[in-house]
Amino acid sequence: MSLESFSLSYALSASLKREFLLAARQKSELFNPLLFFLVVVIFVPLGITPDKVFLAKLAPGMIWVFALLATLLSLESLFKADYEDGSLEQMLVSPLSLVWVIGVKVFCHWLLTGVPLTLLAPVLGIMLFLPADAYLGLMVSLLIGTACLSLIGAIGAALTVSLRRGGLVLSLIVMPLYVPILIFGADTVNSVAQGLPYLFSLLILCVFFFLALIGAPFASAGALRISVTA
């Protein structure tokens, strides 16, 4: 009765399929962060100033801050539903390592939150008069940056999954870790917009990404195990 038929690739594809099915059936969770992102950026010119030059200066930082907050908004639900309905227990008991389970979840979170935010960003750039040269920089930095945000956010989500109102604690845990990503992400876009060398900031962002890719799944797996077994 050993598991000769168990295969990692098949277990991963089954997990991926489930995540996509769940996302497709709960569209509101998909659109909430995007809507937040869109609405807040629309409000900026209305609330501050419609001045072209001034807004163009603000644009990179603004878009980055709001993308970060939109990601934060979607983090709490990352493991919550699976924790509450017992799916997480089944994943812990399964032969599929928890690190892979988290990898799949984080990948889907990035694909369904980070990537849409990145795709939406140029539209918001137009609203905020972002200089034409900066669009590519904005999208590349957001694409890498949101992956970091999803990876690091998973640690916070795993630590707070068993708390009834974990949202605030989650923000407090994750915010300090998000600071360097925000600094170098926004700096990349700013540098591109002003025609300054931007490669350094972008590379630092890549370093953060690889560090998070290596460390975050293991840290999240440990945190999740503690949350479930406590």
Partner: protein, 214 residues
């Protein structure tokens, strides 16, 4: 040879033992009912066995060694069904079971999805989203795992909850089939079982005075 042996085993919660240490042996072909009053630690004992709870004293011996030291191998023989069964309401019955089998067993088990759902009386609900099912039917979606997998040790926490009389009889019959083929069942239930050869593992709650003295 014994399959599982609890040796001086007890679970702790907030620095107190939940129940008196138990010594108990499970053989292949046993149906064991964990018995004890509410709060005695029945669920905690089952969760601990499945690696979902860590505060314990004593040990459980599986294949001549502590089960925690070889948990990956142990978990390949284990099927756990808890209070929360992990059935997603927005997925259909077949999608739920397919995911479970994909993660637990591999692709070979996938051909058993429809057969297993038919076994639990859900043949006409295969593609129905689970939010349209009743509480008993939801439980049956989870119980279909017992028909689709080939695990040796079943750990079932209140498997009869919300199941109708005919369903309980069928499930009891299935448990007997499983142990007849050399499987083992460890379960909690407050229902009187119609199965004759049930052994019981009794948990005696630790009295407060005793733990204060020690």
């Amino acid at each position: 040879m014994s399959l599982l042996r609890f040796s001086e085993f007890t679970c702790w919660r907030s620095d107190e033992a939940l129940f008196e240490p138990v010594d108990f042996t499970l053989e292949s072909g046993d149906i064991v009912q964990v018995v004890g009053p509410n709060g005695a630690g029945k669920t905690t004992l089952l969760r601990c066995l499945c690696g979902l709870y860590n505060d314990y004293r004593g040990d459980i011996i599986w294949m001549d060694a502590s089960w925690r030291s070889q948990f990956y191998e142990f978990s390949q023989h284990l099927l756990y069904l808890g209070h929360n069964t992990g059935v997603k309401k927005s997925l259909t019955a077949a999608e739920n079971l397919s995911w479970y089998l994909g993660v637990q067993e591999g692709s070979a088990a996938l051909s058993r999805v429809e057969g297993a759902l038919a076994e639990v009386g859900l043949e006409s609900y295969v593609d129905t989203p689970c939010q349209e099912l009743s509480a008993g039917q939801l439980r049956r979606v989870a119980l279909a795992r017992l028909y689709a997998t080939e695990r040796k040790l079943w750990v079932l926490d209140e498997p009869f909850t919300a199941i109708d009389i005919a369903g309980v009889a069928e499930l009891e019959h299935h448990l007997q089939n499983h142990v007849a083929q050399g499987g083992t069942v460890l379960l909690t239930t407050h229902q009187a079982l119609a199965i004759r050869q049930v052994k019981s593992l009794t948990l005696v709650p630790c009295s407060q005075e005793l733990s204060l003295e020690s």
